[in-house]
Symmetry: C2
Subunit: 272 residues, 2 copies
């Protein structure tokens, strides 16, 4: 088992949320005798410290730019930063193949596709000039509603678990803790199941990867889960009452007594 192969942060700051799911490109950096955890940890610390920065002003792309510029460690990482505004808008900046889905009334109503150079080679924020920057981020936002569930995770989650499974687990779980743990556990189980036709193996086949022709003739096909580190963050959106002095600090919100808050839980499964 690797030492701290995934680092993850879920932090409240008033009613803002930042969560980052950083998957380390472990192999490449380990070969260069670089501890691959250092870059992502520092990037996260910096993201956290810039969250209330005046220039950042709740913009996840500017936050990523500043955090990246302030990071001096060697390494690279895929990253999602999501900032929830009081009005219920979730602002997202994503570089790489982490994912984020919003589940509303039993269906995935918003989803971020992975960004990659080619199959299985994701965009990454890096200490090297060849890597991607905040300018390569997918920047988008979605208006949330009371009851929405946010499921974010590393590719180890979404490569091993189908949307319908995520929806089932979310609907059967009593809360975000239980949901995050159940999602991570099911993804881990699928990841080591060589007979499971996973989202990853289906995607691989659709890109032209498969078993050799002589196995195909015998009816075989490329299947199986994808062994990988798995990080899951589950958040639930709730409408909350806000005292007037807090609700009125943005001019447009004066007199608005409703605001959006979330409860967050996370779970991890490390590749063994």
């Amino acid at each position: 088992m690797l030492s701290l192969p995934i680092a993850m942060l879920a932090e409240y700051l008033q009613l803002l949320m930042v969560f980052q799911v950083i998957l380390l490109s472990t192999d490449r950096w380990a070969q260069k005798d670089v501890n691959p955890a250092l870059f992502s940890r520092e990037l996260m610390r910096n993201s956290s410290s810039f969250l209330k920065d005046e220039e950042v002003n709740g913009d996840p792309q500017i936050l990523l730019m500043k955090a990246h510029a302030a990071t001096s460690s060697i390494g690279s990482a895929t990253v999602i930063i999501a900032v929830l505004e009081k009005t219920g808008t979730l602002k997202i900046a994503s570089v790489g193949d982490c994912g984020l889905k919003v589940i509303r009334k039993g269906q995935v109503m918003f989803s971020i596709p992975p960004q990659e150079h080619y199959f299985d080679c994701p965009y990454q924020i890096s200490s090297e000039a060849a890597g991607q920057t905040y300018q390569d981020a997918l920047v988008c936002s979605v208006n949330l509603m009371d009851g929405d569930m946010i499921v974010s995770g590393s590719d180890g989650l979404f490569d091993n678990i189908f949307d319908q499974e995520i929806i089932s687990i979310i609907s059967e779980s009593s809360g975000v803790d239980e949901a995050a743990k159940a999602l991570a556990e099911l993804a881990r189980k699928h990841s080591v199941d060589v007979t499971f036709d996973s989202p990853y193996s289906m995607e691989a086949r659709s890109r032209g990867f498969d078993v050799p022709w002589w196995k195909k003739v015998l009816g075989a096909k490329l299947i199986g889960g994808k062994m990988d580190d798995i990080t899951v963050v589950v958040a639930q959106v709730k409408t909350v009452a806000v005292p007037e002095d807090e609700g009125g600090d943005i001019e447009e919100q004066k007199g608005n007594e409703q605001s959006i808050a979330i409860s967050v839980s996370s779970a991890e499964q490390n590749e063994e």
Copy 2:
């Protein structure tokens, strides 16, 4: 062939874009002796006339609310409204199973999933109280870049054509006209191909629909395209220079000489 079964609008207003893809629930309304085109046409006319409304202020959800409230025809429709801001943010409100994808550097980097009550029964804006309203819309936005291609369409497009096919056609086409026509034509071809394993048939099987068991035993499965009306809108994003007096009308943009514009083309294929 139905008379005007799909209505579609692509309109420039300065640097704003509105496009709406409205698919009519033809069968149900035809049975009630209601011309199903009337509702969507009026909804579109109203959307167009409210585009510069002060209260709307570029917000596609408010635009939908006002257009819907002003529509007196009987009927229902699925709808996407997308408004492109000068800064490059595409603001979207969607009710139902129309789709919108953004293609950047040869990959789908943003996509809107369909909203439906159950398989093949989409959310719809309606003249009846039982229908959905602007409050049920998926409201989101995405920051566009120079060169991005936007592909929007009715479910007749996305039920019959895979992302990889869309990407191929976009990359091979000389412009938005050619791309829109090629996408509509390929979707039409697939829609009448009973041997094509379409996105629609794959989705149907994943929801538990399939051929009877005795056909399954013989190796058969539910495949085929989905015969439907097909509307495609393709838009390409370009950075353009803006004269100072135009670029400076929003305070934050003062001194910004770059702005985002689009070229749009559309194509239709009616179910025969």
